[in-house]
């Protein structure tokens, strides 16, 4: 029972940790806010998004995001504002450009490479499979000969 209570305490505090009471003009604005704070990285605790983080900077950047949205800025404008100041690193989903080409295409290149290798391997095995017609014929005769003798 005590263990359970202890668990509940931790659940409650972690759920409350990164939430400020912001009021939104519309459900769309709230959805934009949630989406943005999940996509932007907190630079202090680098493996958390703004939505997850309880760091002072994350709190400030959430406020900045909220204020820009209430001023009528679009989500793209908010993202651009952050990138202008903190660089591409602030984005959890890196943009597609020459420096990130390897990052985006690398997995597919690897996949193609591995597929190629697998296909080559399978073809190699197939080549071994069919013996030549003469040997097949001999084998067939050998079997029918022994059957006749019995």
């Amino acid at each position: 029972m005590r263990g359970l209570l202890l668990c509940l305490i931790f659940i409650a505090t972690s759920a409350l940790a990164a939430i400020e009471a912001y009021e939104f003009d519309s459900p769309e604005m709230e959805a934009n806010f949630i989406k943005l704070t999940k996509e932007l990285r907190c630079l202090v605790c680098q493996n958390q998004s703004l939505a997850d983080s309880n760091a002072g900077l994350a709190k400030d950047l959430r406020r900045q995001t909220y204020e820009m949205l209430t001023q009528g800025k679009t989500p793209d404008q908010v993202v651009q504002y952050m990138v202008d100041r903190y660089g591409d690193f602030v984005l959890y989903r890196p943009r597609l450009k020459t420096s990130t080409l390897l990052l985006w295409l690398g997995p597919f290149v690897l996949l193609l490479l591995v597929l190629g290798l697998v296909i080559r391997h399978m073809r190699g095995r197939q080549k071994l499979a069919p013996p030549d017609a003469e040997a097949m014929h001999k084998a067939h005769q050998l079997l029918s000969d022994t059957q006749e003798k019995q």
Binding site: L43, L57, D60, D84, R85, G87, D88
Partner: protein
């Protein structure tokens, strides 16, 4: 010979991982380098009725050092900033980031005030504009108001000698 391919792949991966380990994840390159310094107008720490704005500093090379009394590394850095300031190469402006003014003034009294002026960014908005995410940070701004250099974390004796001073000397010469 059977192992040639797996071995070379293994060596490649080890090489990449070793390289990755040496990189500092805190070292995020600033997109602000070469861009105009963000505008600000903030009250001075020692005279809150007076404001210092970016335009007041145009036409000269200057240093912006982001500090706070709650920041432990700033105390370690304080000695270096004092040295930098004593060289009189450029004004060193302190951006007192998300601090209590009384604490900040006491901090300067206790350890000495190396700053030409300190300005108060109590809610951290100017900090966000400057892309500050870890105190201390140090910027060098040229005569045209462009950011030429950014140092994240405390400036050490070594980085003062090999990075900050060379940039400053080049800009002021």
């Amino acid at each position: 010979m059977r192992f040639a391919i797996p071995l070379s792949v293994f060596i490649l991966i080890v090489g990449l991982l070793a390289y990755g380990l040496r990189l500092d994840p805190k070292n995020v390159p600033s997109p602000l380098i070469g861009k105009p310094a963000p505008a600000f107008s903030l009250a001075k720490l020692d005279a809150p009725q007076l404001y210092l704005a970016k335009n007041d500093l145009l036409g000269q090379v200057w240093v912006l050092n982001v500090w706070a009394s709650w920041c432990v590394s700033c105390r370690a850095e304080h000695e270096i900033i004092t040295r930098l300031s004593a060289l009189n190469l450029a004004p060193v402006i302190g951006l007192n980031y998300k601090d209590d003014p009384d604490d900040a003034r006491r901090w300067l009294q206790q350890f000495g005030d190396p700053y030409t002026a300190s300005i108060m960014d109590a809610d951290g908005r100017v900090g966000i504009d400057w892309g500050v995410y870890g105190v201390p940070e140090t910027f060098i701004i040229d005569k045209d108001g462009l950011i030429k250099y950014k140092h994240i974390g405390p400036v050490t004796h070594e980085s003062l000698e090999t990075e900050v001073l060379p940039v400053l000397l080049e800009l002021t010469s």
